[in-house]
Symmetry: C2
Subunit: 808 residues, 2 copies
């Protein structure tokens, strides 16, 4: 029986969002609520000599001012991996924009007046603004010592080195890298960089906290309600049951809404003010609160003459900013993932999270995979072209196949990568016709811009590029729980804590339950996330909603179904397994009983419901890194670019991504996820960079920061959705939230190189950077050259970080 | 280990309520919400010829007007037993105050203007305002035919007789009543009456409904969220999962907040207005919406010379008003309960719910037991005094003992009634000293008024009275479900749907869970009632919270405890039963593991929680009435009265009640419940009556309606709490919410008779009625006389319904 559970039903949040009825944190009103404002440090690094809020607290309309003096009775530090971040500055400030005081006031005017009257004395310290400045001998040390007691079990192997500004160092090796490099025909050694970028979700950070009588309630659009609950419970020494996190609609997450810093600030302010306090950050403030890691990635790859990959030695430096946030996990994953979807027998990796006096960096859609993918897929093209190999054939030659091991002990690869790459190539028109990578505008065979006219009358060069990226999806050590309540009229309510952050999880998980119970999906309700209601889920990240929570809701639905089947079977006098649930009724042979009749029978006509529970938990195996990956998310893409040879501007006539959803429960939503990820990938590829001048970020606003706009979209923009069935979720479902974005940057850079011969190793590919690369490229020769134009990228030596690979 | 789970911890709602922070329905704001107002019928009975709201809908600020024309596509009828009540008048109105139209408007001014412009044409019909008028030949018929399809299974035996205005007739007999009466030495035949009274909870009816996109959400302080959910699902043809009932704080229930009529009205209005609609009734409107059944109860009792009860033949007429509401169940219970806590071998009962053109009557604290207890315990005193027996000894002689059958097949009596009566007597000073039932003021031995000075300088007569009432508690066919979430820090969250209506249920049920899990009660949170969250519970009534829901939360806690114990046992390598949960840790011999460690072990360090579920359901037995009672709630009380011989005013120097809580989980709250019930019992005993003049209620407001005031409280007011352990709840707990009120009226009337010789058979015992009885009593003779002063009580013949029993 096909029900709407099998179809692309509309997203449940669509109507609310389209009509403007959706209520985000900022739209909520808690009775008695006042607003909170934050006074921020102007210095990137300074000792906080003194702070005096007495005069500010006397301003009429001001309820209180929160400073370090108000948090001495609690544990003021938090952090996702290391508890290194104080909710309000204590002895030092470590980045420009760090909260130094917060004001609860009944009006913005009063708050502004109060903030002007808070007297703060700073003693400026030398700042480390870049990777190099932080790693140099004699660099200022950001953190002296930090308690590690509250580390999650999955970070037992964390190795911070505070005197050297290292938040975590991850090393990994297999095989004999030295021998591989010694025996190789070619060694390729390149360094790739990416600057700090910000998530720029549409909804800035906001939190409402109400601390009252030993109970703390927080309303906040977080991706990690249970991590936030635990953080607050530890901070204020409360039982988990007395900390409640309510999650309203969320305006985008992308990894940036994990332990949102305004949350503990609002909680502490509410505790002092004895009122519910709302803190709403501007997008400027949000941009000074969380970011994606800037990175410098050096990859050495050993290759045989025939194109066989032999070994890889990678050094990854990621700029984690003033506080570690997810940095220690990000660099670990980056290290593990830098091998890519290829057979590489000998591997050695070192990956470091480096403290700097910049905005904290955390998770960002792909969790370091965009960074390392940028590096290794750029290098793969360089290698192929240097060796005179077709970049696609070269990749196929080395590519992992379904069932191959990514690393010893880890989950085997669960998608058909070569097939996916071939489909991408077919869609984009690979190999390029006529063998020429060059064309000027007007050549319809190569310069097509899809549905859109080219935006330039200048000469263009067009080219094709591909990239293949792989990441372990779903989180490595991850768990979910769920409750399914089966009502007497054969409808159901799902209680589970995957946050609806715009990905459509509530719609799809309702479909999973509906299918399991044989119901129309309209009969399955999903209750909004609220830790006082919906049971534990580790977090909403890593494309894990369908793959991991899907298992829990499926198990809970099966548990409820088994109970109602057992009731009917007993009434029928048949074994439970002879009784099945179909369209709201129990059926065994020619016996039939509605769910309502069965529930009524069990509860002896008194009414009732059946409660199913489901748990999903990590596999038992230990894998290479002490755990087994949940599934493999594949990001394969191909792109056709048209480069304006006068301005360096890049247009994208065609971009195609290929995703393997395992089971596409709701095809429209899978496509939306995949295209959305690719679209988001355009920003850091072409435009985005949080620019620092001295110790100050200067473009952290929606006016100054260049995000992708609709005219930037590819002329043709396709997502090819496959259903390989290899995932751990219901019917083999996998997650698809990040894959589409992973190949975008290297595929575009590869296409630019194909079109122009200019190899650029620093993101973003702004017109200026492309223009400079074109100028540095000999006569648009088809021979590629490597040009690094990393300035003013942070944390890297602006001079000559690339080296020529004209060895082929 | 004694934890706070064993103590009288403070009520969780106390702080909010004392500080005014508690938010009731009227305090809520739903974005976009408008208010709804109701136009009511001025006629008690009329045909609705036409209704025209066109002009009203054009008033600026008016969103819409709801009339019968707007409910043709839904099932507009609802009802707890019979679906006889339309949400808005259709073809007829059946009581003065029935909603005829409802206006959704942005201001009260606009609504008033609109209501004035709704044109309604009525054709008045003859009304039946009393039992006699409704039962007379040729009486107007209120309901022609009503669909019975949606009856609850427990009402399969309903026997309505619409042409005779009978909503249900219940008959019951055992033994051979005719022979018992023929063989008796004495037959006592009395008729007792009670008028309509209203619950007058502090919070008038209020509801907010939001109908949107096939989902209906209601905020309303109901006692029966799941019954309300089902009613709305049937009415609007929605799955249960798409009807959500959120229950904010509730300002008292007492049976009056079951299917609250403003709820379907608000829902239909929201559906038409396409906005959230709030309807807040004034207390005057609330008083015209629900009431307690007026009753006329004739009891014939056959007695042997030695005081042995032989048989009882009772005819109970209850005035159920315009719509049946709970009437069909109320009269059934009244019929079953009229035997009282005595061995009566031969019984015959007929009990009827009679439709009249008055406000609908439903459940009221005790569910007909106050009415029948008033009758039979008054008569027991008459019999004793007539036969020259001590009223207490006479009762003890016939009283059911623990383990005796109340009726064949039903649950045996589970409290020690004789012990309870003896304790009441001891507390009040029974037997009266000196044998004299009379005293005048100034005799300190008899006229003590406890802590308070008598309010009169007139001569007083004092006397003692007792009464013993029994009811089957908890509901006969009743079920509850619950979820207990055990968190990793050994705290817990309870999801269950017993409504906190002021009885302290959330506090006590948290204690049950805390005790089961070995936790401090402060670590156990209880989530607010919300059908989208908290699982099915039949209803919050019948003193069933602790006794019935207590079983479900206990089972859920045990389920969670068993899971965590099994995890630890497996880790320890011992059988699960060797592992116990103590103070947040699992212990087996000298092995110990915290709950957090066990959960972490099970979820392989990924975090998690364990979900326990619990079901409680009716016993399997069939009993006399097709089901077995859940437990027996006993209401035993004794009172000392002082009657002002000039004015007839009654003072209460001392009132004592005795309750058997089975297990008093929270002794303070048990006392509060018992004293609260007794205090509420004072109102209908001494003051309360909803007075009709013609077809209009004339005192239905807090100004005109006389409720008990603090000066009316007894001088000494005691509750004796026993823990007999006989109940079905945790540790033998029983419910105690209603017992304290049951003996109040007959004990006071018995004391008045003892003091003055005046036997009054009609409530309330107003000064005027007592004064008239005193005037009719020969010279304050110690010989009792029976005086009926039922006028202007509704539904009964004002002349001579009592008959003299001076046969002894």
């Amino acid at each position: 029986m096909q029900t709407t559970a099998d179809k692309s039903v509309p997203r449940r949040d669509a109507r609310d969002k389209v009509t403007g009825r959706a209520r985000y944190t900022v739209d909520l009103h808690v009775p008695g609520m006042v607003d909170g404002w934050v006074l921020r440090s102007p210095h990137a690094h300074a000792r906080l000599v003194s702070i005096d809020a007495a005069e500010a607290e006397r301003v009429p309309g001001v309820l209180c001012v929160l400073t370090r003096d108000d948090v001495r009775d609690i544990d003021p530090h938090f952090g996702q991996a290391i508890k290194d971040q104080p909710l309000i500055a204590l002895d030092r400030v470590r980045f420009a924009g760090e909260p130094v005081a917060a004001v609860a006031a009944e009006s913005a005017t009063a708050a502004r007046e109060a903030m002007a009257r808070i007297r703060v004395e700073y003693e400026p310290l030398r700042a480390a603004m870049t990777l190099d400045e932080a790693l140099a001998g004699g660099a200022p040390v950001l953190h002296e010592s930090v308690g590690l007691s509250a580390l999650s079990p999955d970070l037992r192997d964390i190795k911070p080195d505070f005197p050297r500004n290292i938040a975590n160092r991850f090393t990994y090796q297999r095989g004999d890298v030295a021998r591989a490099f010694a025996e190789a025909d070619h060694v390729f050694d390149h360094t790739f960089t990416l600057p700090i970028v910000h998530h720029f979700f549409l909804e800035p950070f906001a939190a409402i906290a109400h601390f009252e009588g030993g109970d703390l309630t927080v309303w906040s659009g977080t991706q990690t309600p249970f991590a936030q609950q635990q953080m607050l419970a530890e901070m204020f020494r409360l039982p988990l049951s007395r900390v409640r996190i309510v999650v309203p609609y969320v305006g985008g997450g992308f990894g940036g809404r994990e332990l949102m810093p305004p949350v503990p600030l609002a909680a502490a302010l509410s505790r002092k003010a004895r009122r519910p306090v709302r803190i709403v950050y501007s997008s400027e403030e949000t941009c000074r609160t969380i970011a994606r890691h800037a990175a410098r990635i050096r990859i050495r790859t050993a290759v045989r003459r025939d194109g066989t990959l032999l070994g890889r030695d990678a050094q990854i430096l990621m700029q984690t900013g003033a506080y570690a946030d997810q940095g220690p996990r990000v660099i670990k994953k980056g290290g593990y993932r830098v091998v890519g979807p290829y057979r590489v027998p000998h591997v050695k990796v070192e990956s470091c999270a480096v403290y700097t006096n910049t905005v904290s960096a955390g998770a960002y859609r792909g969790f370091s995979t965009p960074q390392v993918g940028w590096a290794y897929e750029s290098q793969m093209d360089i290698i192929a072209r240097t060796l005179g190999l077709d970049p696609v054939e070269f990749r196929l030659q080395n590519m992992l196949k379904r069932g191959d091991e990514y690393a010893p002990g880890d989950r085997p690869v669960d998608s058909d990568l070569p097939d996916m790459l071939r489909r991408a190539c077919a869609a984009i028109g690979w190999p390029p016709r006529g063998g020429s990578r060059f064309a000027v505008r007007g050549s319809p065979s190569e310069s097509g811009t899809g549905n859109r006219e080219p935006r330039t009358a200048n000469p263009q060069a067009t080219g094709l590029g591909v990239a293949c990226v792989i990441k372990d999806g779903g989180g490595t050590r991850t768990s979910s729980t769920a409750i399914v309540r089966l009502h007497a009229d054969a409808s159901a309510t799902v209680l589970m804590s995957t946050v609806e952050i715009g990905q459509g999880a509530h719609t799809v998980l309702a479909q999973v339950v509906a299918k399991e119970l044989g119901l129309d999906v309209g009969r399955v309700a999903v209750t909004a996330t609220d830790t006082s209601v919906t049971p534990f889920d580790q977090r909403t990240n890593a494309s894990r909603g369908v793959a991991m929570m899907g298992q829990a809701v499926q198990a809970a639905a099966r548990d409820a179904a088994a109970q109602v089947a057992a009731i009917a079977a007993e009434a029928f006098g048949v074994p439970p397994e002879a009784c099945r649930l179909e369209g709201g009724a129990l059926v065994a042979g020619d016996r039939r009983m509605t769910v309502g009749e069965a529930i009524s029978h069990f509860f002896r006509d008194a009414g009732g419901e059946l409660i199913g529970r489901g748990y999903s938990r990590p596999d038992a195996g230990m894998g290479t890194l002490g755990a087994v990956s949940s599934f493999w998310e594949i990001g394969i893409g191909a792109v056709r670019v048209a480069v304006d040879l006068e301005t360096g501007a890049i247009e994208l006539p065609h971009l195609v991504t290929v995703a393997d959803a395992g089971w596409a429960i709701n095809r429209d939503l899978v496509e939306g996820q995949d295209l959305g990820a690719a679209m988001m990938g355009l920003g850091p590829t072409l435009f985005e960079e949080l620019v620092y001048e001295g110790d100050q970020p200067v473009n952290g606003s929606l006016v100054d920061y260049r995000l992708p706009l609709f005219p930037d979209l590819p002329g043709e923009f396709d997502s090819i959705i496959l259903e390989g069935g290899g995932g751990p979720g219901p019917n083999g479902a996998k997650g698809v939230a990040e894959g589409g974005g992973l190949p975008v940057a290297p595929a575009i850079a590869n296409a630019v190189a194909a079109a122009t011969g200019a190899r650029i190793t620093a993101l973003p590919l702004t017109p200026e950077r492309v223009w400079r690369a074109l100028r540095a490229t000999p006569a648009l020769s088809p021979q590629p050259s490597v040009v690094s134009l990393a300035d003013p990228g942070p944390g890297q030596n602006p001079k000559g970080t690339g080296r020529s690979t004209r060895e082929g």
